[in-house]
């Protein structure tokens, strides 16, 4: 069965701190996709990144970076120099075909 675990329920940091959100997944598939979505206080779900199982290259986009390690079944998300606008619930998700299996989310609070 597929499963996504986000063990950190809530993280609080002060602005400009770096923060890493952990994501561990389980699947028996050899081809799969991993995602991160952001849900700000306004409630919408915003797509951040997709990674396929054959591409273990880390990715950086501005202050955001993602570390995908198949050996540990992890797909962690780091925000560098966090800002108040980063405050949101972040979801990691797994997909083999069409449906997304979401983790329970990590609430990030960034204080000024």
């Amino acid at each position: 069965a597929q499963k996504v675990t986000q063990a950190q329920t809530e993280i609080s940091v002060v602005e400009k701190e770096d923060v890493t959100l952990d994501c561990v997944y389980e699947t028996r598939d050899t081809t799969y996709y991993l995602f991160w979505y952001k849900q700000p206080p306004s409630g919408e779900l915003v797509f951040l990144i997709r990674r396929n199982s054959f591409d273990e290259q880390n990715e950086i986009s501005g202050r955001y970076s993602w570390n995908f390690q198949k050996s540990t079944s992890s797909f962690n998300f780091t925000i560098t120099a966090s800002q108040v606008v980063d405050s949101a619930v972040y979801f990691c998700a797994l997909s083999d075909t069409d449906k997304l299996i979401f983790g329970t989310g990590t609430r990030l609070q960034v204080f000024p």
Binding site: Q39, S42, E44, F47, R50, T97, D98, L100, F102, G105
Partner: protein, 115 residues
């Protein structure tokens, strides 16, 4: 020019009523979805349609009936509403293009409160 739009944004109703939530996407995507987010923020797939055909139907009470009149629309009708149906319902869509397949774009959600 909203990509995935849901109406209404808020829905407050009494137990036992029947209600519908509408979803439209203008992205030209082939696949549309309904997800439910409960009070603990847990998100779970309910249904998926590809080109008006049902392809995913998770364990959802048959009081919930999706309808897709065309590939740009996926509506959700709920009969005999119960307190436990209170949640945020998200519509999403994804393209058929293999390069972008699996990336699902979400609507803003419909917050349903059953009293």
């Amino acid at each position: 020019d909203t990509a995935v739009s849901q109406t209404p944004k808020y829905l407050v109703t009494q137990m036992g009523n029947d209600k519908s939530i509408k979803c439209e996407q203008n992205l030209g995507h082939d696949t549309m979805y309904w997800y439910k987010q409960d009070s603990k923020k847990f998100l779970k797939i309910m249904f998926s349609y590809n080109n008006k055909e049902l392809i995913i139907n998770e364990t959802v009470p048959n009081r919930f009936s999706p309808k897709s009149p065309d590939k740009a629309h996926l509506n959700l009708h709920i009969n005999s509403l119960e307190l436990g149906d209170s949640a945020v319902y998200f519509c999403a869509s994804s393209p058929a293009d293999w390069r972008a397949k699996n990336i699902q774009y979400f609507g803003a959600g419909t917050r349903l409160s059953v009293l």
